[in-house]
């Protein structure tokens, strides 16, 4: 076994502007001496801050007792020496034991409190993790899969690979890939416990037992570097307020020579005939509504630039048009009805839109459904597929 081959490196950092001291990676020293530098960095940080010092352990993957006690010693001493100072320890719900371990400190010193960061960590979170999204995802995947199953091999999908589907939603894509392409390993990660529970049920229903569904934050994953030949992330870069951060994580877990594959929309380009103008108005408004919640559902065609900026090579971009002609037009209509529910029924309401606006907003979805079900109508939902290779 080569030293370090299993572990992520450990690092400590202090940012004076945010008054935040962060510990990341695997910290398993044999003695305190090995982390003496980090301990004195922490002491230095305490000397410099006023009010609150944030201790960020969100990406702390492992910490042994030796390290825990050494750092805690410093916190507790500081509480006694500096009654003016508060400590907020920021943990993650993904690494549950850190919350448990650190929460005892509050019983010893009330100046120390614990916050679990990822209950509300970006503006659109509550919408996309909600169980009401589940029916939309299921029908969406059914419609896009007709296209993706033929597209995927062009982007590096093949039997026998190790793959990860990040932001897997209800996991139906992972199940379809498993059946069609027989990868050797599939890890599927999401931050919605409701979706994951559903995903496990779906997989069991198909008699599939070897998809590793895992709860995690895509922008701070526990997964180690360079593990997967193929990393997919569908319809999700567009819902992050920092897509570049997410893409960097996808890059990190991808093997050199492997590929990252994403799909995204450009919502303002949804279209239909008849009633095209009302439809177009509504989808333009969808894009604005999402941007109000810091999500960019216009991202699709920008993915080429994101991939280039992230350092990928051999970037391949193509677009597909999912339409009412693909299969059962009622599927298409169901998806639009679900969009209307969430976008007009929840998000616009949350933004504080007037009833008149919401009514007109809903009309465009209704017209899109009308176009989809019309015997001579056409309704389209364009999607951009992009992939890039991580350099060797």
């Amino acid at each position: 076994m080569s030293t370090g081959s299993f572990s992520k490196p450990f690092s400590a950092a202090f940012d004076i502007n945010s008054q935040e001291f962060s510990l990341t990676g695997v910290i398993r020293p044999r003695s305190v001496d090995e982390i003496a530098v980090n301990i004195s960095m922490l002491k230095g940080a305490i000397d410099q801050v006023r009010g609150v010092l944030y201790i960020n352990v969100k990406r702390l993957i492992q910490m042994n007792n030796t390290a825990f006690h050494a750092f805690v010693r410093v916190f507790l001493d500081a509480c006694r020496a500096r009654p003016d100072l508060r400590f907020v320890i920021v943990t993650s719900s993904v690494v549950g034991w850190t919350t448990r371990m650190f929460s005892h400190l509050n019983k010893i010193e009330p100046q120390i409190t614990i916050e679990v960061y990822d209950s509300k960590f970006y503006p659109g979170q509550s919408f996309v993790e909600d169980a009401s999204f589940i029916p939309i995802l299921r029908t969406q995947t059914k419609m896009t899969w007709r296209h993706e199953r033929t597209i995927l091999p062009r982007h590096g999908m093949r039997p026998g690979i190790a793959m990860a589907d990040i932001c897997c939603g209800i996991g139906d894509f992972a199940v379809l890939v498993q059946k069609e392409f027989q990868p050797l390993r599939i890890v599927a990660l999401d931050h919605s416990r409701a979706s994951l529970a559903y995903a496990r049920d779906v997989a069991t229903g198909f008699g599939i037992t070897d998809i590793e569904y895992t709860y995690g934050d895509a922008s701070e994953m526990l997964l180690e570097d360079s593990q997967f030949d193929f990393v997919s992330c569908r319809h999700s870069l567009q819902i992050f307020n920092r897509p570049d951060v997410l893409l960097a994580e996808l890059y990190r877990i991808c093997k050199p020579g492997g590929r990252v594959y994403v799909t995204n929309e450009k919502n303002s380009h949804c279209l239909g005939e008849p009633r095209s103008q009302s439809i177009q108005w509504t989808y333009n408004e969808v894009a604005k509504l999402f941007s109000h919640f810091e999500m960019d559902v216009e991202l699709g065609p920008k993915s080429r630039r994101y991939f280039a900026d992230a350092g990928f090579e051999d970037i391949v971009v193509e677009s597909i048009m999912v339409s009412n002609l693909d299969g059962d037009p009622q599927d298409f209509a169901d998806v639009i009805a679900a969009w209307e529910n969430v976008y007009a029924g929840e998000m616009a309401v949350k933004r504080g839109d007037s009833p008149e606006f919401i009514q007109r907003f809903r009309q465009g979805f209704q017209d899109h459904i009308f176009a989809a079900l019309h015997p001579k109508g056409y309704a389209g939902w364009p999607i951009w597929v992009a992939s890039g290779r991580k350099p060797r």
Partner: protein
């Protein structure tokens, strides 16, 4: 528990994996604790509900146990680590050679985890510098990982720790 009961419970635990290593080899590099716990964690967790997070938690516990044997073990004989499963519980059985006084320390530390005041002792071990490292480790495992720890009779100079881990509760 009488002998017959114990045997039936033991029989219910299905073996998942066993690993033996010369103590001299094990003691030659501190990183073996980290590497072995990560490696074993992955193997035993692959068919758990959330393998990634199960293996992270499992590795945390196993690493501490291996560190105990690294710090207290003696360089003659073998270290033997076996993992079993029964329902939602993983059992680690770790045997390693150690000097007689270590045996006694470990025995005392383990028994403290089973007393009613374990949480108070744990808080105490965090807030004072005085508590021994070994006490702190076992209390941490009992309090933060719901570990049930006992010593099994084994022939000196070896010592056998048996640790039951209902980790599914922490993971899900």
């Amino acid at each position: 528990m009488n002998e017959a009961d114990r045997e039936s419970v033991e029989a219910a635990f299905e073996p998942l994996l066993q690993l033996e290593m010369e103590m001299t080899t094990f003691l030659s590099d501190w990183h073996h604790c980290d590497q072995l716990s990560t490696f074993i964690g992955r193997i035993v967790s692959h068919n758990r509900t959330d393998p990634v997070r199960h293996s992270n938690v499992f590795s945390s516990v196993l690493n501490e146990l291996l560190e105990v044997s690294f710090r207290g073990g003696s360089p003659d004989g073998q270290i033997d680590c076996a993992v079993y499963r029964h329902g939602a519980v993983e059992r680690v059985r770790l045997t390693f050679p150690c000097p007689p006084h270590q045996r006694q320390f470990v025995g005392e530390a383990v028994s403290k985890t089973r007393r009613a005041d374990a949480l108070a002792r744990h808080l105490d071990s965090i807030s004072t510098d005085l508590a021994s490292n070994r006490d702190a480790v076992f209390l941490d495992l009992a309090i933060n990982f719901d570990a049930r720890i006992r010593l099994e009779n084994s022939a000196p100079p070896s010592i056998t720790l048996v640790v039951d881990l209902p980790l599914q509760g922490i993971v899900n």
